[in-house]
Symmetry: C2
Subunit: 476 residues, 2 copies
């Protein structure tokens, strides 16, 4: 209980004492020093420890109660709330420094933007989509905006099921739930699978937004280190013995940020572990469509005989940001649970976009478009590898991802990624430091270089600038 003694109150401040005390207690709760359902000291104890009036403590507790941070139990005392953090007035995770910096940068035409891994809007197939929109509106009239009772357009469920067979996934249309984006899918899954305080496993490093989304639902996150061929299996099994995670969230192909893909062997081991320890795997198919190798893509879902895998895919990741269309493949048990809760879960996704994309898939336009952009990105990918080899050979190591939209590079030990990013910012080159991709802000000697929106000229030029800056950094 020594945490309380360390609380500093400033009697001269304009902020009332009760509020200062409340905020200080909040900080202890946010930092996890005071756990949910911990009893707070009695009014008298805390008042005498801090040499303040009883009334100040009473008001501080009331103030915290009004924010939902603590709850009072009649005759028993005041306890730290076990409420999901999203219902509490404080953001769960602080915004990362670099994010803030990026926002202040005005991205001009001359900026070389290696931070972006979203497809550029100028590759979007406008003409084809216009045709589809017209055809759908002509065919379905006002009905074009509507969907079925379960918020899915059943023809699209069918055409997705059909498209999935090319990846070896055989599933019924009824197991497919249409979603607007990854965030939407995560929201549905959280509401269906998670209860406050449940443990889930994620890869480390991983995309920060996904972690934050689960944390916001009150999940406790365990990070399992990711090797070049998948999660560290012995650590994974160790953690499975310790915790009972509701699921393991993985990205088997071209993971963000590492670009790593799972080996077939590891995929099989993880499936067996999920079965042995009675948990689910959420497989995010991030950009497996952008495969530059000859090796066929084998999703975990294609190997899943025990219905342990929930598959999530967002078409926006490859087509155009803002399309707002994706889908989940769900085991029947979970589909039933979702449908029985559909009044309290937001399931809706634009009916018009569902109809348009259905037609786009059925006419083979999607495969045609993939082929086209795969060629473009593949050129950029090899151009980036060449430039890295030529300009940065002495400073970095990396594993060629053979797909996706970024390369994850490790800097020599003597170089600080944060420093390098700052120096490059000044030269109008932006990229993502590794510290963005873990809750603990480690991976600090890594960088992610995205090539979604930089053409070959810019890649060459940008990497050359990186080389120059590194030369200068290391001679100083």
């Amino acid at each position: 209980m020594n945490h309380f003694v360390s609380i500093q109150l400033d009697k001269k401040s304009k902020i009332p004492l009760y509020q200062q005390l409340g905020d200080a207690l909040c900080e202890l709760i946010q930092k996890g020093i005071l756990k949910p359902n911990t009893k707070l000291p009695t009014i008298r104890t805390l008042a005498s420890q801090l040499k303040i009036n009883n009334a100040t403590v009473v008001n501080a507790y009331k103030y915290l109660e009004s924010k939902g941070v603590v709850y009072a139990q009649m005759g028993s005392g005041t306890y730290v709330s076990p409420l999901p953090l999203e219902m509490i007035t404080f953001p769960v995770l602080p915004e990362k420094d670099h994010d803030l910096k990026l926002k202040q940068i005005s991205i001009s035409k001359n900026t070389i933007n290696f931070a972006n891994i979203s497809p550029p809007t100028d590759l979007f197939p406008v003409k084809d989509f216009k045709e589809m929109f017209n055809e759908v509106l002509e065919r379905d009239k006002g009905k074009a905006f509507n969907v079925q009772d379960d918020y899915c357009y059943d023809h699209l469920q069918e055409s997705i099921a059909d498209y999935l067979t090319t990846y070896g996934i055989h599933t019924s249309k009824d197991n497919i739930q249409i979603i607007s984006d990854t965030q939407h899918g995560i929201d549905i899954l959280s509401k269906t699978l998670l209860q406050f305080g449940d443990v889930i496993f994620v890869e480390k490093p991983a995309f920060y937004g996904t972690i934050a989304a689960f944390a916001n639902r009150g999940a406790r996150i365990v990070e399992i280190p990711l090797n070049f061929d998948g999660m560290d299996i012995s650590l994974l099994e160790g953690c499975l013995k310790l915790y009972q995670p509701k699921f393991i969230y993985i990205t088997p192909y071209f993971q963000n940020p590492t670009g790593y893909s799972y080996s077939l062997a590891k995929k099989k081991i993880i499936l067996n572990l999920a079965q042995k320890y009675n948990t689910y795997i959420i497989e995010e198919d991030y950009v497996s469509d952008l495969n530059y190798s000859d090796k066929p893509i084998v999703p975990l879902k294609a190997l899943d005989k025990q219905n342990r895998v929930i598959y999530i895919k967002n078409f926006s990741k490859v087509l155009v940001p803002g399309l707002r269309l994706g889908f989940l493949i769900l085991p029947e048990k979970i589909i039933e649970r979702i449908l029985s809760h559909k009044h309290s879960i937001n399931l809706s996704t634009s009916g018009l976009i569902q109809r348009v994309f259905d037609l786009y898939l059925r006419k083979g336009q999607w495969q045609k478009h993939l082929k086209k952009i795969r060629t473009i990105y593949e050129k950029r990918y090899y151009c980036l590898l060449d430039a890295l080899e030529y300009y940065l050979k002495n400073y970095i190591t990396y594993i060629p991802p053979q797909g996706g939209l970024s390369v994850w590079i490790k800097l020599a030990d003597s170089i600080s990624a944060a420093n390098l990013c700052d120096l490059l910012l000044a030269k109008n080159v932006i990229l993502s430091p590794g510290s963005l991709f873990s809750m603990m802000q480690d991976s600090s000697s890594y960088l992610r270089l995205g090539f979604a929106t930089v053409d070959e000229n810019q890649i060459e030029k940008g990497v050359k600038i990186m080389g120059d800056v590194l030369d200068t950094m290391l001679t100083n």
Copy 2:
């Protein structure tokens, strides 16, 4: 503690005893008999009361804990969870009987559907929208799908602000937040304004879905009776003295289900009360565009000098279901709070629809379309009033709403609305009984007759059938 003695367990059942006990306790919690943070009996006490093994009670408590329904406190016992109900595996409010019946009905071409108050898809202006889609895609290309950082397309914020001046609302574009639908707006408002257990006031009767949405966020709902000219003011003020509601949710024009509109005097009184008792008013503009009288529409927001009103409107309610576009007008303080939490609140609405609707507004097409459909609905409205006068005069009373898409009728005391609905169902005429619109299932002598998707012929025919059925009911 007598609730527990009444629990009946069936030792012959295939359902394990612990689960039977768990489900029975759940029911007590769902019904509100056991309140949040109530301590459950000790294992030994409950086991001896119910004459079962201690282990059965232990397992029942564990089972409930796994569902998040109760929580255990080390050394102290097991308590009813204060978690928001949406995080618990059970739906908050049971689905209403009539809803279920409606779903089982196959609505055929011959069905006369007075239950629907959504615009029919055949009045949707396909041709105009096709033009807008083509123009936007041609103009913005792939960018057509994107929006700004705060998920709003700023030109649309501008054109909405401009459109609002015709209703006497003067607001900056920065106070407008684009949303997908009412449910989405409620979700944003709940996450921003509500904490678990907060009190809110709603009208009684009211649309069931809205109440359920707030209840799902853990709000405690107080229903204030609605008179023909607005909320009962003395009851409202009485409740304001008792509770401190986070907000009062009202629909000043053509309220669903009653069709009632607030008098100017009551609007002013409610604004003053909100100021006096330091609360907000959420004003839902449901279908004020469909005004069949000469009186101008004066939204509460147009009278709001103290920034007490949050205005919410969904264009789908008049244009086409499934459009998924609406907006909120928010006081600055709330906008700031939303933007500071935007990573944990889903704010996104299709960029494409935002751009298309912006153009639709700017070209004056929206006003043109409103004029057209207002004429159509006005005809149906007067046709319905005529038919009610002709066929049902002796059985009902009602207040002509002078706008909107439904009429709320009160049956003579001797008639049961539920019975009447059942008899009409058998004759392929469907309508909504009043019991659907209150948590307590009262308003049982009322019916809502919607005329959104029935033409004049059907209206005449349907009301005649109602008259015939009532004749038969009352002669028997």
